[in-house]
């Protein structure tokens, strides 16, 4: 039972990072980014590559995951979404564009996986990372539990300080709140948005880094987890970063615990129905409480 809860914690940590970063991109561009899950996979492939080439220990490659996820997100912003926004594309067009980005990204990752297999001679699909065991004052703990929780805490703290305490963060919030007004006040909205996308991609990359510890990772995994990310973000109220955190934990825990409970004697459902849980949560939230959990504590609009 403890193992199950820890599993759920790891998965939820991952979802929290992803839903936070999805919310960040939705806040800036109002685009429901269907390529978001792929950013995580770009991050993990980047980290994996450097892990193999440099021969470094697993957890030291986290910065590479951040960097690759961030740079890829930045590239999609600068090449696709930014120019489209300036041309006045509406959000449906941006959404379709993000689907196109998703298709391209996944095929690129597949091509890269083929390339990696032939050049680096390693498993490039369905690979897993070996975990290390930490010994904290005689208490054995899997590395992933410690590091994923630590990443969530540090990155959230970083985001909080950035947004609330620094001048750049205030500019970011202003640019999100009202881009036109912010521009008049001399804020370089383009720069701020680019940075937000880099940050969002970095968060997603770090989240992706934790995937291969639990799930065999392949290029298509990003799309498979995408709807769980959306479920978390939408449950949290889409436009609320705090909501994304709460949503991530709720979806993560209900996905893992729910799958376990449903597969137990009275119901005996196949565990392959697991994706049904986030999908149902997503659909129910949109139908019953479209403003999400954030509507419980914020009285906006």
């Amino acid at each position: 039972m403890i193992d199950l809860l820890l599993d759920a914690l790891v998965y939820s940590n991952l979802l929290v990072l992803l839903s936070i970063s999805l919310t960040l991109t939705i806040l800036t561009l109002k685009v429901s980014n269907f390529a978001h899950g792929d950013l995580a996979i770009v991050g993990v492939y980047g980290a994996y590559t450097f892990m193999v080439i440099l021969g470094i220990s697993t957890y030291f490659s986290i910065p590479f995951a951040f960097l690759f996820g961030g740079l890829y997100a930045l590239a999609t912003y600068l090449l696709v979404y930014g120019p489209m926004r300036r041309r006045g594309a509406n959000f449906v067009m941006l959404m379709i564009a993000s689907m196109a980005v998703d298709i391209s990204t996944r095929s690129l990752l597949h091509m890269y996986a083929d390339f990696m297999k032939s050049q680096l001679k390693v498993y490039s699909r369905g690979f897993i990372f070996d975990d290390i065991s930490l010994d904290i004052t005689g208490f054995k703990l899997q590395g992933i539990i410690f590091f994923s929780s630590l990443s969530v805490i540090l990155l959230l703290l970083f985001l909080y300080i950035l947004l609330m305490k620094t001048k750049f963060g205030i500019a970011m919030r202003a640019a999100i709140e009202n881009p036109d007004l912010a521009e008049i006040l001399g804020i370089n909205v383009e720069k701020v948005y680019s940075f937000s996308w880099f940050l969002a991609g970095g968060f997603a990359g770090v989240a992706g880094f934790f995937l291969p510890f639990r799930i065999p990772t392949s290029p298509d995994l990003g799309f498979i987890i995408l709807l769980s990310i959306f479920a978390a973000s939408i449950l949290g109220g889409v436009n609320s970063l705090a909501g994304a955190v709460v949503g991530g934990y709720i979806v993560g825990f209900s996905e893992i615990l729910g799958t376990y409970l449903l597969s137990q004697p009275p119901i005996n459902l196949n565990t392959a129905y697991r994706p049904a849980i986030p999908f149902t949560l997503l659909i129910l939230t949109l139908m019953l409480m479209p403003k999400g959990l954030a509507s419980l504590w914020s009285k906006g609009e």
């Binding site: 685009v31 429901s32 696709v80 120019p83 489209m84 041309r87 594309a89 959000f91 449906v92 067009m93 959404m95 379709i96 564009a97 689907m99 196109a100 980005v101 998703d102 298709i103 391209s104 990204t105 996944r106 095929s107 690129l108 597949h110 091509m111 890269y112 083929d114 390339f115 032939s118 050049q119 799309f223 709807l227 959306f230 479920a231 939408i234 196949n270 392959a272 129905y273 994706p275 049904a276 999908f279 149902t280 997503l282 659909i283 949109l286 139908m287 479209p290």
Partner: protein, 337 residues
Amino acid sequence: MIDLLRLIIDIATIYSIFLILASSMELEYGELGIPNFGKVMFFATGAFTVGALAVRLGVFLANIIWRGEFKTKSIYYSTLVTNYFASHPLQAITVFLVTLILAVLFGAILGVIASYPAIRLREDYLAITLIATGELFRVIGRNYEPLVGGTLGVGIPDILAWLPGRTREISFLLLSTSLAIVIWLILLRLSTSPFGRTLRAIRDNEIAADALGKDIVKIRMKVLAIGSAMAAVAGVIYAYYMGTVHADDFSPLKTFLVVLMVVLGGRGNPYGTLVGVGIYIVLDRVLTLLKHYIYLPFDINYFTTFTFGVILILVLMYRPQGILPEKPLLTVRKTEK
């Protein structure tokens, strides 16, 4: 020579299937502005109907007794039924018509259900909801074996087994193309009729259309029912053409491809749909043929999908109206008084 015929049949059938799907997307998204990104679900509805019923109906009509599980035995029984159909054309046609009618019915019902969120949600949330529902559909199809045999897939009897040799393939081609043409003509007719103008009015300004007394809820429901029934027909053809149905075949990528075709051809223009589907099919075939001539360190299929993604992005950025943009409405020429 024979290979060429085979190639033509293949291309034309795939073209027909995608033309039907694109027509239904064009009707819903191009004309009415509902981005139905659960399209693959309605496509799957048609295919699943055939997958679940064709063998069972055939076995029933042929008076064969079914032994063993559905998932392991469906392919075996589908060959038995095919042999039976070889001498019983009437029964074969009955099975085809029954599955087609049921698929259309199921598609329309699901479309009406899908209109419930379509009326209430903003476009992007609607898209997510429909994608999620479609994925749920696929997950059920993959895991609930009595439906379409789970991961093993299901066998489908050949409904034209009573025709000799080559005529079988040609007849199937005629069947699929004529269905596609009929559906495209329905789209054209709807698009140029007063009904089509109402759809565009709703798309462009919902409040104004509402103020002019158009029942938006009812019209959306109608369009989604028609569009979904169309997609189900495509699913039926696909299932009979492939001779098997695998739940995992119905991934959201199919929907994206259909969106690509509609956007590429030009939203709001039925002729654009014809062109968009054509370009996709040609590109797909050319890139597949290239596979035999050039060496790449990766599978060319990924390169093909990558190219489509990039083309779609470029079209969205530089020519969002598509190759054949929407034309001004056809109106009666003003006559001198």
